[in-house]
């Protein structure tokens, strides 16, 4: 009796989860299906073709935009890593009266919404001539990502025993050496989490790229797509092929580093 009820429950759960999986995967199915149609096929003609893919690469600078996205991601993430590992180590292991204040400031910065600073930041960047290449966007992304990364690094370095650091200092190592030789190697899991989180964040972003990259030649793939769709010049199959191309890198990173992404997400809940 009890067994039968349990299996019925299991079957219901399984079916519900399948239905939900279809709902969550629908955009991918739609993108794949639509991108393999020509414009005529999209409007009712039967069959599939690769015409839209050809058109995508012929008419839009997709390759250049993918490259731009990579450059912007790499630049922003490098800055975030340097800045946040150093600051996290300073807060956790080189404590002084300033550390708690500094930590509070960093946590406070996490509360600032992008939209609240974007107008002055845009004007400042334009005065500093940062809008013509990649740098404006790279710096803004780096500044937006650094507070959380520093928070993560701080809690990670706090997990390293003070004795370990002090013993190394007594042995004659300087603090920068301790940081490089002991701190960084132990922080590798947190570093990977930051890379994965930020990669997805920066790769997928529209607003910062839209404003802080003025030259179309430097646009990221997401901004390129956003601009296209807002222009309402719509060859939908081509747009879907572009969407798919833009989504693939982030999805691959997600599939490989799922666990780190989840760790990063739940890090804010605390213990």
């Amino acid at each position: 009796m009890r067994r039968k009820r349990l299996s019925l429950k299991t079957i219901t759960a399984f079916i519900s989860m399948c239905v939900l999986a279809v709902v969550m995967l629908y955009p991918f199915a739609f993108m794949i299906n639509t991108s393999f149609k020509s414009k005529e096929q999209y409007f009712g003609q039967p069959g599939h073709s690769t015409a839209s893919w050809g058109k995508l690469f012929k008419t839009l600078p997709v390759t250049q935009q993918l490259l731009n996205s990579t450059v912007v991601c790499a630049g922003a993430i490098s800055i975030i890593l340097v800045v946040s590992t150093m600051a996290g180590f300073a807060i956790a292991k080189m404590r002084s009266k300033a550390s708690p204040v500094f930590f509070l400031g960093i946590v406070g910065a996490m509360l600032i919404p992008l939209q609240s600073i974007i107008i002055p930041a845009y004007i400042n960047a334009s005065k500093l001539n940062l809008l013509n290449g990649y740098w404006g966007a790279i710096f803004v992304y780096a500044a937006l990502g650094s507070p959380f990364a520093t928070f993560l690094m701080t809690s990670y370095f706090r997990g390293i025993p003070d004795d370990l650091v002090e013993a190394a200092i007594v042995d004659g190592l300087s603090y920068p050496k301790v940081f490089l030789k002991i701190g960084l190697p132990l922080a590798v899991p947190a570093i990977i989490t930051v890379i994965v989180l930020q990669f997805i964040q920066v790769w997928d972003d529209l607003l910062v790229g839209l404003l802080f990259i003025q030259e179309p030649a430097y646009r990221t793939i997401t901004v390129g797509l956003g601009a296209l769709s807002a222009g309402r010049v719509t060859d939908i199959p081509v747009l879907m092929a572009g969407s798919l191309i833009s989504a693939i890198p982030a999805v691959v990173v997600y599939l490989i580093f799922q666990r780190q992404l989840v760790n990063g997400l739940t890090a804010g809940i605390g213990k």
């Binding site: 759960a13 399984f14 519900s16 989860m17 939900l20 999986a21 709902v23 969550m24 629908y26 955009p27 739609f30 993108m31 800045v83 150093m86 600051a87 300073a90 080189m94 002084s96 300033a98 960093i106 910065a109 509360l111 600032i112 919404p113 939209q115 609240s116 600073i117 974007i118 107008i119 002055p120 004007i123 400042n124 780096a142 500044a143 650094s146 200092i169 603090y175 940081f179 997928d204 529209l206 607003l207 997401t222 797509l225 769709s229 807002a230 939908i236 747009l239 879907m240 969407s243 833009s246 982030a250 999805v251 997600y254 799922q258 992404l261 989840v262 997400l265 739940t266 804010g268 605390g270």
Partner: protein
Amino acid sequence: MAKKSSLHRARTRTGIFFAAPALILVSAFLGIPIIQAGYFSFTEWNGVDANWLGISAYIQEFKNPIFWRVLENNGLLLLGVPIAILFPMGIAFLLNEKVMGWKIFRSIYFLPTAISWVVIGMVSMRFFAQEGLLNELLKAFGLGFIKTDLLSSEKGALFAVAITFIWSMVGTNSIIFLTGMATLDQSLNEAARMDGASNFRIFRSITLPQLNRFIQFSFVITVISAFTALFSLIFVMTGGGPGFGTTTLEFFIFQSAFSRGNFGTGAMLGVILFFMMAILGIGQLLLMRNKDE
């Protein structure tokens, strides 16, 4: 003793040196701009010349009916928040049954987290369109007479944005609750069951209180997303329209500054958004602190 204090000084010096890059970067691109936003919110500003208006800048905006229309949209989006929390909670319970393939399902549900709002918006637009899947589904279920065109009406478009938003929060929130459920103390359930408590009673009196922290966290994340993360979705899906139908505060900031050139008003709206988010953040901190005592 003297040696120790010189060591201490050296440590402080190096510490400051280590913290400096983060401090400079965050001050330059977040700290200073938020202070500037505060200043320029009291001015009429076209990006070059600013004209001091003082508090009347705010008063003028509070008299603007569009401002309230926009806040109403934010309010309506808030109505979606409970669904965006409870639905994933249910999913987390399903996943927690650990039936065959649950790990694969978990990965699938979380997958949209990796996709840009731009892409989500483009697909969602076609889903809700007149010739889209939504209407085909309605037809298939014999409800063809409903034939919707959500994106063409103000309330309908906001509804479509809200549904897309809820859909995209499924992954994040179910992961949060799944994490929470892993921390549940099973022995409490057993004890209660032994005392003859019903399943519902166990859920309400034992499970829910233990999940409290996770519900709060997911609430904060969901509200922050609803108010500050939907720019790209709205930009692609509706452009804020029809009319002001889907213009939320964050989108209004962009429009005021970059479509109309009212940088001062944009800065002010940014300050208002900042305070809304700060109150939320501080409220959560206080709530957590009260729990600890």
